[in-house]
């Protein structure tokens, strides 16, 4: 896994929408006033007759999308995740999911890597909510190409779907030809000592951590769970059984997101120690994306340290953990 440049995942969403628009004449897009920011402006320029501006009204946009979907269209509505996953939560639950309407939502500015805008615009809770909704498909792509492929895939499947993407450039490490299948996790690096299960921006950090662990002779498996729902129980269970301990890593609250999904899966199928890397029950704040990722503990260093703790817990039980806690401050 090598670095191939960097680009925001939102560009992948915008380009994927144009791909879809070219292939399907019934794909339509609803704007929520921030079309340039969430890249639906690309679709608007190319297909002005299939773009509708709804204004700053996320509840209405979500339900209008339902009406369009129930009329045979494939509507995409995109805004910031804070507003198009939570502001409209009831509309997603009742109008979209209970109706099984073929509505697609693009949630931008996800995580704290939005940077200077601060906590109101940094959504850290929506994965938890969306993965509890019946019929919902929930995708968290890791880089530009994956976002583009995921956007096309969600448009071509039938049923409610949500894609989470970020504002700032993130490392690119997949290519146009990397396989992508909704609901199927990708094992990016094979390993047997510890499984690092991540999505979004934390996938690359997990790769960096695995490379660092390799220097110490630790073989880490890196699994990219880009689809949080439907969840790939098979791949995660296999990782738990073969590695015996897990680290989850996500740009989201540690509660009920990807880590929660992994814990639910392994508690049932293969109970193993899990360490959770994510935002620990706090709101975000202003700052540069890089410094915020450090402040909130979302870098390869936390993944690395968590891997050592997880292995310690597996090998020695909780008694060995107190000593190893010091490793959590490991600075590389």
């Amino acid at each position: 896994m090598d670095l191939l440049g960097s680009k925001p995942t939102r560009f992948g969403f915008g380009d994927g929408l144009v791909d879809l628009g070219e292939r399907h004449s019934n794909v339509v897009v609803l704007g929520g006033d921030i079309t340039g920011s969430v890249m639906t402006s690309l679709f608007k320029e190319k297909f002005p007759d299939r773009f509708f501006s709804i204004g700053i009204a996320e509840q209405n946009a979500t339900t209008i999308a339902t009406g369009l979907a129930l009329s045979g269209k494939i509507p995409f509505f995109a805004s910031y995740g804070a507003f198009c996953a939570l502001r409209n939560a009831d509309q997603l639950r009742i109008s979209v999911c209970y109706n099984e309407a073929n509505v697609k939502i693009g949630g931008g500015h996800a995580g704290i890597s939005v940077g200077p805008d601060g906590a109101t615009h940094q959504v850290l809770e929506e994965v938890a909510f969306l993965r509890t909704l019946p019929h919902m498909t929930m995708i968290v792509p890791a880089d530009y190409h994956e976002a583009r492929k995921a956007t096309v895939a969600m448009g071509e499947m039938v049923g409610p779907a949500y894609i989470r993407f970020g504002r700032s450039p993130v490392p690119m490490f997949t290519t146009e030809s990397t396989p992508f299948e909704l609901g199927k996790a990708n094992v990016l690096m094979d390993g047997t000592d510890v499984a690092i299960i991540a999505n979004g921006a934390l996938v690359w950090e997990s790769i960096l951590a695995a490379k660092e662990l390799a220097k110490k002779g630790i073989s880490a498996r890196v699994v990219n769970v880009h689809t949080v729902k439907p969840f790939d129980f098979t791949t995660v269970t296999q990782a738990a059984r073969e590695c015996g301990c897990i680290v989850t890593a996500e740009e989201h609250q540690v509660h009920a997101g990807l880590g929660g999904a992994v814990a639910e899966c392994t508690a049932k199928n293969a109970p193993v120690p899990i360490e959770f890397v994510g935002v620990k029950d706090s709101f975000g704040g202003s700052g540069d994306p890089e410094e915020l990722m450090v402040k909130f503990g979302l870098t390869w260093r936390e993944v690395y340290a968590s891997a050592l703790i997880a292995m310690e817990r597996r090998d020695k039980g909780s008694s060995g953990v107190r000593a190893i806690r010091e490793v959590a401050t490991y600075q590389g």
């Binding site: 009204a57 209405n60 339900t63 209008i64 129930l70 009329s71 045979g72 009742i94």
Partner: protein, 299 residues
């Protein structure tokens, strides 16, 4: 004999056609709808009496006056006009209208609110009752879905399908209703008809006491609707409202239509009439018998 059938707690099999008719022609239909509402609710043992009874006349004109074009034998047909019940708790009146139109067997009305029924307490699209276009029950959403449907017809498919949606008046307290209203006029949806069941009642009391929504007509006007206030228990007046909508669509006015139907909650059953206490409860067996007796006197 006829009177006994009408007063009976049992469902019958009579259905009605959907066609242009004289105002007095709606009375027997509206009263059969009311009787079915009572029959359904007493069996269910829970549910909303007031709103459904109060809007039975509106539904009689909407479903049986030729204004909404549909095929009772095939409600999946994608060329028909559509109705979205935004006030989901008023499901019994829609269920009764659909049954009396022949969209599904009238006897099935006895399953209202029962396990695995197609007649869910609030409409559930997942149960596939013919004519239920959407799930609704969380107020303020249906009208917005209807606007999306009207956009699809008017702006994308460019056909002449009509979309109707009915909200309550208490429902107007949900802010998203006005987001939908704004969009309907912004997009020039003259194929969209918004019906407001203005009975002035909601669970906690009179609407202006709970949270004032008046003046409704001026609000609708200012949101860009061609607005008409009608007596919701006067068939000729209701027809005037729906005729105005058809005229607006025919003339391509680019304006959506709002019909504000002034109704009384529980209308047709004297002991329920205009009483907000009847918003969310069913009649007891005795009350149902009394209501059916009273309704049997009507056409």
């Amino acid at each position: 004999m006829m009177r006994e059938i009408k007063a009976s707690l049992d469902f019958n099999t009579a259905t009605f056609t959907n066609e242009r008719r004289d105002p007095e022609g709606f009375a027997p239909i509206a009263n059969e709808i009311r009787r079915d509402i009572i029959r359904m609710l007493v069996r269910a043992g829970s549910g909303h009496s007031g709103g459904p009874l109060g809007s039975a006349d509106v539904f009689a004109v909407l479903y049986f006056g030729g204004y909404m074009r549909y095929n009772p034998a095939d409600m999946q047909d994608t060329t028909h006009d559509r109705f979205v019940l935004s006030a989901g708790h008023m499901a019994p009146v829609m269920y009764a209208a659909l049954a009396n139109a022949g969209c599904y067997p009238k006897q099935e009305q006895e399953t209202l609110r029962k396990y695995n029924t197609r007649l869910q307490g609030h409409p559930g699209r997942d149960m596939h009752l013919p004519g239920v276009e959407t799930s609704s029950g969380s107020l303020g959403q249906g009208i917005s879905i209807a606007v999306g449907m009207a956009m699809s017809d008017h702006l994308l498919d460019k056909n002449d399908r009509r979309v109707f949606s009915l909200t309550g008046d208490g429902e107007l307290q949900e802010g998203s209703v006005w987001e939908a209203a704004m969009a309907a006029s912004h997009f020039g949806l003259d194929n969209f008809c918004w019906i407001i069941d203005n009975n002035d009642c909601q669970i906690d009391g009179r609407v202006p006491d709970v949270m004032n929504v008046y003046p409704i007509d001026a609000k609708c006007e200012s949101f860009g609707f061609d607005t008409i206030v009608v007596d919701g228990h006067d068939f000729a007046d209701l027809m005037r409202g729906f005729d105005r909508f058809l005229e607006n669509q025919r003339n391509k006015t680019g304006k959506p239509t709002a019909i504000i139907a002034r109704t009384y909650m529980g209308h047709g059953v004297s002991f329920m009439n205009d009483k907000f206490e009847w918003h969310g409860k069913p009649p007891s067996k005795e009350q149902a018998a009394a209501a059916l007796e009273e309704l049997a006197e009507m056409p």
